[in-house]
Amino acid sequence: MLEVFKGNIRRFFDRLKPTFNEGGKLSWLGSTFEAFETFAFTPNRVTKQGCHVRDAVDLKRAMITVVIALIPAMLFGMWNIGYQHYNAVASPLTSHLSILTCFWFGFLRMLPLLAVSYIVGLTIEFAFAQIRHHQVNEGFLVTGFLIPMIVPVTTPLWQLALATAFAVIIGKEAFGGTGMNFLNPALVARAFLFFAYPTRMSGDNVWIANDLWGTDAIVGATPLGELAAGLQPSASALDMFIGTIPGSTCETSTIAVALGATLLLITGIASWRIMLSVMLGGGLMGLAFNLIGANEYMDLPFYYHYLMGGFMFGAVFMATDPVTAAQTNIGKWIYGLLIGIFAVMLRVVNPAYPEGMMLSILLMNCFAPLIDHCVIARNIKMRQKRAQVKPKATTR
C-alpha cells in the first residue's frame, strides 16, 4: 500500500520535472520544485567535486532535532497561555479547570501565530531562493518555530508578519541567506517588535490573552516587569521554575526548556560550553550584584535570574545557534560568559529594558567573529613561539 503510494508520488514528480528543468515552461520556478521534491524524497544526486563532509547529520536533521527539542516548551507554553487566561478571567481559579481546557485555548491562540510566522517567512525564503537560483534550504524551519515562541501571545498578527519579514530580509537574506547571517533571525524579529511597538512588548498589560481572538490583554505583570518597577516578584521561585507565570508564549517554564536542552546536549547539536558559560556568567553577575546590594533588585538571589523571563530559553536555544555563536572553543566560553553577564546587568541596572537576554545575545552575536579572530590569532602566535628554535648558547 505504502509502496504504491510512494510510487505514485515519485511518478508525479518525474512527470512534472521536465517542465521545471532548464528550458522548461516553468523553469523560473525550478528552486521551488526542487524544494518540494527533496522534501518528499532523498535527492538522488551526489556531490561530485570539492571537499565535503560525509555525515548522517545534515542540515535537515540538525534543524529537525532543534524543533523536537523545542516541542516541550511549545506544549507547556500552550497550556500556560490557557492557564493564565482562565486564571485572570475567572478568578478565583475554578477547580474544574482541566489541563485540556487550558491547552485547547492556548493551542487556538498559538496556531495563528505559528501559521503567520511560517507563511510569511517561507514565502520570502522561496522568493529569494528563486531569484538567486539557489536551492531552498531548511534554515527557516527553526526560525519560524522560534519566532512565535518568544513574543507575547497578544501580539497582533500583522505585527508578527512584519517582524518576520524584517527578520528574514534584513536579518538574513541581505547577508546572503542561511549560514551567512551574523544575527539570530528569531531574535531580530523580536528586537524589531520590541523597538517598533514597545507598548505591545514591554507594557504591563500585554502578557495575558483576554479573549480567544482579540488582541486585548489583561494587566498581568511578569516577574521582570515587577522588579523593574521596584516591586518584589509576586510569583514564588517554584512557580517560576515550573513556569506558571505570565510571560512570552513559550519561554516561562524552566523545566520544559531543560528537557529540550537535554536532547540538544545528548545529540550534540548545541554546544554545552555556551550553555554552561551563559549560566555561569549570569550567576556570577547575580552574585556580584548581591555583594553591591545597593537596592532590592540587586539583593535578589542569583538563581532567580535563571528562572525569570527568557534567560534559560535564550541560553539553550538562542545563544547556541551555530551560525551566529563563536566557533572556537575558547571563544565559546568568552561569548557565553559575556552574554550571561550582560543579560543580568541590563536587567538590574537599566529599568527601561526589563529583559536583557535578547539584547545581550544580539550584542554578542555582533562580537562573536571578533572573539574568534582574537582566539585564533593568539593560537597562531603561541604556536609560532613554540616552533621557533631557541638560539643555543655557543661555548667557545
Binding site: 497582533p156 500583522w158 505585527q159 512584519l162 534584513i170 541581505a174 524589531f192 523597538f195 517598533a196 511597538y197 514597545p198 507598548t199 505591545r200 488582541t215
Partner: protein
Amino acid sequence: MNHKKLLIEPLRKANPVTVLVLGICSCLAVTAQLKPALVMGASVTVVTALSNFIISLLRKGIPNRIRIIVQLVVVATLVILIDQFLKAFAYDVSKRLSVYVGLIITNCIIMGRLEAFALSHGPWESFLDGLGNGLGYSLILVIVAFFRELLGSGTLLGYQVIPQSFYEAGYQNNGLMILPPMALIIIGIIIWINNRKTESK
C-alpha cells in the same frame, strides 16, 4: 564636458550617498521627518554648488599647501550665511535641525567635490557638479525621510496621512522608524536595490 551629464550623473549612477557613501551621518540625524530633510537637502545643495563655484574661481590663486584652509573658510562662510537665513525665515525648522546646519561644514560630500572636482575644472562646470551632487544627496534624504515619517508618525510634512480609522482598527505607528538605526537600514535597502539594478545592466 557634457553639462547635462554633470547634473544627472550624481542623482543615481554616482550618487554621493548610495554609491560614494558620503554624508551618512546627517542622513541619520535629520530624516525622522520630511520637512527638516527638505530644508537640509536644500541647504547642502546651495552650499555645495556655491562653494564649488567659488573655489573653482580661486583655484589658480590658491597655494596648494593651504588649500584645505581656504576651502574651509569658503564653506564655513556659506554655512553661516545659511544658518542665519534659516534662523531669520524658518525658525522652527532651524531649531529642529539644531547643530546639523552648522555641521554641514564637515559634510564629506562638500570637501570631496571641492578636492576631486572644483580644483581642476572651470567655474560653470563646478557649479553644475556641486548642484548635481547636492541634489543627489537631497534625493536620498527625501526618500528616507518620506518612509520614516510615513511609517513612523503616520504623517507627511506634518499632515496626517494615515486615516484615523486605521488606528481604530489596530494599526500602530512603527517606533523603530523614528530611531536613527532605521535610517541606516533604509539607506542600506536603497543601496541594495541600486546595486542590483546596475549589476543586471
